[in-house]
């Protein structure tokens, strides 16, 4: 039997050993520094000033955001500006030759739609097109005796589209998480008082919604409840690309009797994307040289690069970011990156998709996996708001805007912080 004194000494020795090891090794590891010499790496993307003097005013994010939340006037004004800009740039010839032009007919159609909708808002007697019955993404036709009037969005996607297209009194409730996202201003969200939650199904049913927009992950018990209460479920699943999102906006628009507004919204999104591409091309190609290796990353337990299977990956691909990872993509949504992998890629510019980027970017700039990379050494690590990057809705336009704004800050008015939402994405 060991005496209590020797037992105590043994325990103390063990504790002392462990803590001394930590004190010595962990503090010496902290002191070890990466080399102060940065690899040869240009700090700007553009090696020479572009010969075309850019005459157009900088973009204002708040206006784009307002337009996407359903402000017809903002949409109309932006479309007019973009149309003029497109014509000027196309007249230059070579500059934007690789950018597919947004057809003038589409610009004109968008203006026509905006004017019709504004006139109708003012009370003018503009005939509305007949109601178009739709099939959902499961092939089930909408089964209703008369055009539906009240809607229950079970998903954030459907809620975002409905908030943009419909009068608020037609929306019965919103997914609770919708109120935490910076997509819509709080006063717009407050106009729809109910949160969708199974415990409040009685309140929601008493408001008599006609159609519930559901997803493939909606609980079977919820579906059963909806059917029992004579609420028609409308399945939305096809959201994997820009084209599918635009089709979904049109489909939902027709279901809620706002086909023209939905068409305007899709044209607006397409025109906006084209305008951003054209502005980028008008300055210089991105990435500017083969030595530039931009990366788009997401931070979870480790760092991931989204593949083209995800919308974020498609946006990145459109900007030729993450090109070095294209061959490794496989069928997954993301590619996990080890430190060795990142060092091998030697990224010169990194953008993170983050929640609350202003708060969460600083620790990522010191992330051990990025230590020693050209991007870290030249302070070329940025962040964009995750809520827009991950939103499979028309807000994809703002997601793309945020990325292009990082590449071309000089043509974006980053001083305009009077955004629709409080969280500025950049």
């Amino acid at each position: 039997m060991i005496s209590s004194h020797s037992r105590a000494l043994t325990y103390l020795a063990a504790i002392g050993f462990i803590f001394s090891w930590w004190a010595v090794t962990l503090s010496s590891l902290q002191r070890a520094e990466t080399p102060a010499v940065a690899p040869i790496c240009p700090t700007t993307f553009f090696t020479s000033s572009h010969p075309f003097p850019h005459p157009f005013p900088p973009f204002v994010r708040a206006k784009w955001h307002r337009a996407l939340t359903g402000d017809l006037r903002a949409m109309m004004e932006l479309l007019a500006e973009w149309q003029v800009e497109a014509q000027c740039l196309e007249a230059q010839g070579e500059m934007c030759k690789d950018i597919p032009p947004f057809p003038q007919t589409n610009f004109l159609r968008a203006q026509e739609l905006a004017r019709r909708l504004l006139a109708r808002e003012k009370g003018m007697d503009i005939p509305t097109p007949p109601y178009q019955w739709q099939e959902d993404d499961g092939g089930t036709p909408l089964n209703s005796a008369s055009p539906p009037q009240r809607f229950l969005p079970q998903t954030e996607l459907a809620a975002a589209i409905l908030l943009t297209l419909c009068p608020f009194k037609q929306i019965v409730g919103l997914p609770a998480r919708m109120r935490t996202l910076p997509l819509f201003p709080p006063d717009m969200l407050a106009a729809v008082p109910y949160d969708i939650d199974r415990h409040y199904s009685e309140s929601l049913v008493s408001l008599k919604p006609d159609v519930a927009f559901i997803a493939h992950y909606t609980q079977p018990s919820t579906l059963q409840t909806l059917r029992q209460q004579q609420i028609t479920p409308f399945l939305i699943t096809r959201l994997n690309s820009l084209e599918e999102i635009l089709d979904t906006i049109l489909k939902i628009g027709h279901v809620v009797g706002q086909g023209e507004k939905a068409e305007l919204l899709t044209l607006f999104v397409q025109a906006g994307l084209s305008t951003l591409d054209r502005r980028l091309a008008a300055h210089a190609p991105f990435p500017a040289t083969p030595q530039h290796h931009p990366l788009y990353l997401q931070a979870f337990s480790t760092l991931y690069a989204p593949t083209q299977r995800s919308l974020a990956g498609q946006l990145a691909h459109r900007l030729k970011i993450n090109q070095a990872l294209d061959e490794e993509a496989g069928s997954g949504w993301t590619i996990p990156l080890s430190k060795e992998h990142i060092q091998h890629l030697a990224p010169t510019w990194i953008v993170f998709s983050l929640r609350d980027p202003q708060k969460n970017l600083s620790p990522l700039r010191l992330h051990p996996l990025l230590k020693g990379t050209p991007a870290a050494l030249t302070n070329q690590i940025f962040a964009v708001e995750e809520a827009f990057q991950d939103s499979p809705t028309h807000f994809l336009l703002l997601a793309y805007y945020d990325l292009v704004a990082l590449i071309l800050p000089q043509v974006f008015d980053v001083s305009d912080l009077s955004d629709v939402s409080d969280d500025n994405a950049i």
């Binding site: 039997m1 462990i18 090891w21 931070a299 979870f300 337990s301 430190k339 091998h344 620790p363």
Partner: protein
């Protein structure tokens, strides 16, 4: 009925036991070489950089010295720690289904790490995760012991039941958080990845966090090997043979918590090793702890290293090291049980 295997003194290892030990050692060496060699960077560049670093001509980050070698050490320590902690737990409780999970150590560890992810501290202070995981395991053990005490003594059955009850409570609390935050997709991804275990980007910080815990834990287990042999005959018998049962048990559980805490700090949650690998070790080496412990070290270290190398060579993105080990281990265990049953029927 706890299976009784013949006890072999060390000098009487049979040929097949020696051969298996040699094979495992060779496999461990081969796996270690594979881990050090495998990676996206060309070997010539890796080698060049490593030599320059060792000769003091460079201070640049090198994949071999700064990622692969620390990862190998973490894998060896974690695999060995988890297997040995399972052997000790099953020996103490004399229950083949006992494991550190039964004492709630992994649940406590996991729950303590959860707030770090919730409040975003994993970005600002990434090394807090392994430290918190270890403290969670240790804290849970202390709590289990405190709750199971009765007039200054702890009964094994009470200890096991208390551990299982606490494990249930801690898992339920964690489950409550998971449900409440189910719509936070990013957080769910983070938590799922943590729960699945990972050997990605292990650094010297992980090694230095885990290694002293592993060394003290291993030493603690090894020093009680004879007491464990005596305890196999029963607590009362061991007491009359001079074993201070309460003290030995406390020291062993403390060692187990150091080993498990270190493994959680190193790789996160890895199933299978502490529950199932001990059964393989006992079939191989019998019940003598002076053979069981080194054999468990060898088997655990080799298995975890081999799994990690497999996942790197064959890119099975759907699997993490934790999920793959649990899946393979489950199938092997079923096979083992079926074979045992057939053998019993034949006898």
């Amino acid at each position: 009925m706890y299976p009784i295997y013949p006890m072999y003194p060390m000098t009487m290892l049979s040929n097949w036991q020696r051969l298996l030990a040699l094979l495992l050692l060779l496999l461990l060496l081969g796996t270690a070489i594979g881990i050090l060699y495998t990676g996206p960077t060309e070997w010539s560049l890796v080698q060049e950089g490593a030599i320059a670093r060792l000769l003091g001509r460079s201070t640049s980050w090198n994949p071999l010295l700064d990622e692969r070698l620390p990862r190998l050490i973490v894998l060896i320590c974690s695999g060995a720690s988890l297997t040995l902690s399972g052997i000790i737990t099953q020996s103490l409780f004399q229950n083949p289904l006992a494991s550190p999970m039964s004492l709630g150590l992994t649940a406590g560890s996991s729950l303590c790490v959860l707030p770090l992810f919730l409040f975003g501290h994993h970005l600002s202070f990434p090394m807090l995760i392994p430290i918190t995981a270890f403290l969670g395991a240790l804290g849970t053990l202390l709590l289990v012991y405190t709750l199971a005490q009765e007039k200054g003594h702890v009964q094994l059955s009470t200890l096991l039941l208390t551990g299982m009850a606490l494990s249930t409570v801690l898992s339920a609390i964690q489950g409550t958080f998971f449900y409440a935050l189910r719509e936070e997709w990013s957080l769910m991804q983070l938590l799922t990845e943590w729960a699945a275990g990972s050997t990605l980007d292990r650094t010297w910080q992980h090694v230095h966090l885990q290694l002293p815990l592993t060394l003290v834990g291993l030493l603690g287990c090894w020093s009680e090997r004879h007491a464990l042999n005596l305890l196999a005959a029963g607590e009362e018998e061991a007491f009359y043979l001079g074993v201070d049962v309460q003290q030995v048990r406390w020291r062993l559980f403390l060692s187990v918590s150091l080993l498990v805490g270190g493994a959680m700090a190193g790789v996160g949650m890895i199933g299978f090793f502490s529950l199932i690998l001990p059964h393989f070790v006992r079939r191989w080496m019998g019940n003598a702890h002076q053979l069981l412990l080194p054999a468990g070290f060898l088997l655990g270290a080799t298995t975890l290293s081999a799994l990690d190398l497999t996942l790197r060579v064959i890119p099975l993105h759907a699997f993490s090291i934790g999920t793959l080990s649990s899946l393979l281990g489950g199938f092997f265990f079923l096979f083992l049980l079926t074979e045992q049953r057939e053998r019993d029927v034949a006898c």
